[in-house]
Amino acid sequence: MAKPDTPKSFQEIILRLMSYWASKGCAVLQPYDMEVGAGTFHPATTLRALGDRPWAAAYVQPSRRPTDGRYGENPNRLQHYYQYQVLIKPSPPDLQELYLGSLAAIGIDLDLHDIRFVEDDWESPTLGAWGLGWEVWCDGMEVSQFTYFQQVGGHDCKPVSGELTYGLERLAMYVLGIDHVMDMPYNDPSAPIALSYGDVFRQTEQEYSRWNFDQADTAMLLQHFEDAEAECGRILAAEERDDAGRAIIMAHPAYDQCIKASHLFNLLDARGVISVTERQAYIGRVRTLAKACADAFVRTEAGGAVA
């Protein structure tokens, strides 16, 4: 295997992943334009893992976890970060080798490092989804999640999708040898205008940390949660044919509302207004939406329904 030189910046790692997975035949998609907690929420994963139509996609997904905000001070924790996500259906037999190739592509010398697949079963109670797989360790550090989806939205996955999730900041810090995320070069350090991760994100981390923890209007967020939930149900309950007689099931617009509800719940959680018992109830409400969206999607063409 040719040993590529070490990348110089955060963005170079992303670019190399993009071109690697493009070369392996994935459609390189763009991030979903909504606030999500993880790359899995992108409909290119959640919905496309359903049904029997083959699929291969790779994309970066900006992700938000309000409770992880540390005002930009913690070397590893951020309330806004990036995940790199690959989903291939059906999972190819050489997915592990393909994955290892991607590590080599971003400059990890597989002859010098110790790569390990350590049991880690994945479950998303909010998506009604689970799968089996591993966390991948490089010299003792978790660099990716590797999952074979078994169920999504309460539906058995047939065929099974293979999902790879890379935590980009952590992986890049490791490859670039950086100890504090804010010190990581975002673009080429020798560029005329060299920018660090901190130059791009330190201020926003502070602003969002304050808003997430102290300022977000909880009464309004609760109302928005209720609204999203209601709208999701209303969309799915609509007549299948529109006024012009076209049969259109609106699985994606409904799923947008499910994504919204999920993120609103995360914000409410960060504001500390959800008790332990209520927590389960909220998660259950989001899961109900996710299942309803999955039920709708499998009745669409992309979901494998025979026209």
């Binding site: 350590v118 550090m141 996955c157 099974v160």
Partner: protein, 686 residues
Amino acid sequence: MPDLLIELFSEEIPARMQARARADLQKLITDGVVEAGLTYASAGAFSTPRRLVLAVEGLTAHSPTLREERKGPRTDAPEKALEGFLRSTGLAKEQLEIRDDKKGQVYFATLEKPGRPATEIVSEVLERAIRTFPWPKSMRWGAGTLRWVRPLHSILAILSDEAGATIVPLEIDGITATDTSRGHRFMAPEPFRVIGFENYARQLKVAKVVLDPQERADTIWHDAEQMAFAKGWEVVEDKGLLAEVAGLVEWPVVLMGEIDAEFLTLPPEVLQTSMREHQKFFSVRNPKTGRIEGFVTVANRETADEGATILAGNQKVLSARLSDAKFFWENDQRLIAGKGLEGMAAGLDAVTFHNKLGSVGDQVRRIEALSREIAPLVGADPELAAQAARVAKADLRSEMVYEFPELQGVMGRYYAKSTTLPDPVADAVRDHYAPLGPSDAVPSEPVSVAVALAEKIDKLTGFWAIDEKPTGSKDPFALRRAALGVIRLVLENGLKLSLTELFAAAQPDADQADLLVFFHDRLKVFLKDQGIRYDVIDAVLAMPGSDDLARVVKRAEALSETLKTEDGANLLQGFKRANNILTQAEEKDGVEYSFGADVKFAETEEEKVLFKALDAAEARIDPAMQAQDFGAAMAAMASLRGPIDAFFEAVQINADNAVLRRNRLNMLSRIRQICLSVADLTRLEG
């Protein structure tokens, strides 16, 4: 006699599942081939993260031909009967044999079931084993329907003898059995052909795979100890971790590093837990300082830089983890310096214990009240016990325990010690969960004992009050463990307590009688393990005061000992005889003979002797029972053996003289009464 070799090659099998999988594979295959008529000399199963392997030696090449003889109709039976017989046996009339029978001549058929070759049998048995393998969790992959623990890639299945190896024909969901295997994923990925088990294991080793998990574990432990020894250090033993790590690597390479000095101030439990749970590192102690100062990690490969990059990477991850731990430790201490451990405990009102039993804060208040009640009974200062109970759960609100739940109690003790709380309180914070398992030590310090008892009794009575008792194998709140904990706390500290009084003090709504039965069941299991028979325990539990466990056990031990003596065993027979005769007479006569016998009606010398003996025994038993000296009481009871035996020998109970008979029955009644005052001997077997 061929040997069988099977290798199921897959993506990484979770370490914790490998031991069970080895045993299951061996059982499924060997049971299957034996059931099909083959025999074998020996079998052994092995595993690595990527393969599950079975080697069977000395398998028979064919199953034996089976002959079965069937008796048919008589030769003079109607034609229809013969036709039916021919149909059912599939033979022609000429193939039948005619033999003489008692009632005339009869047709006999001899059916021959030819033996089958081992390849065919193994193929079927292996396919069934793969399709029904009992993985704790299995999955599908790709577009297939086969289930395995992780995607199954290839199957090696060969039967080999002097003539060479034969591939067992098998195709399962697109995977065809072959005679090839592969080595280490990174160091020797090329496929190679295999002709037998020894050849397989040898080639694997060349291809950087150690097949035997025990050999990998031994290598790891040996190398780790050597490396530590060279530095004057010692590896902290951890058998569970060793087995797990051996299941994570095919080619173990041991690397040792030092923990950054800035983290050495962390409690050793924090270092050990963080390293073990997050990174599967062994802890290494410096005996000169007594501290954990190093770590051992096990890589899965050799590298050109002799592991330098791998070690540096691991070291960096460890530093990041320990930075977090140090941050939690310092934050927690800062918080406690500000508002004390009780201030930290205040947050427990926001944590749900159980939706019907309120918050952890409520739980703590109940435990505090109960600790205060229990304290004087176990020799503890009630104020100290109450104080310990108030802060016992405070560390559940600490950042450290949020990150490492298994450090609950341990951290609480450190945090308590960092304040002005007295040592017995700090120790009780750590020890109030104990004992957790059967091998866990039982606290003996009175304050710890009081709070540990209170915590468990509160939990048990609480869940009893809301009717959430364990059923069958379901015990989600670990109530059996809690009850066993109470039993061990009471017994090992020799505490004299009335459990029912404690139940009442803890939770008036709980069904005390039912909970006591639950305790008795646990106690039976516990005493059984100590060699005391069930019926002995039953005989004792039937007596009053069975909620005083120490008394129950003393009595059971005394009874158990007594029954081991010749006098005791014979006395039991005497008692049973007396009891049987008496019960029958009482049933027959419809009266109860409990008026007391009178010595003036004693006719024989043996009767008079027994009278004296009963008087003497009673005089000894009553005060001994008062003093709970069960040994003395039982000895006195056993001393009746001679007089009772002699009495039965010489005297006919059911005498013709009604006065004599009544007197003798009343005598038996005294025997019964005296014996039953010691234990319910009617419950004893034998």
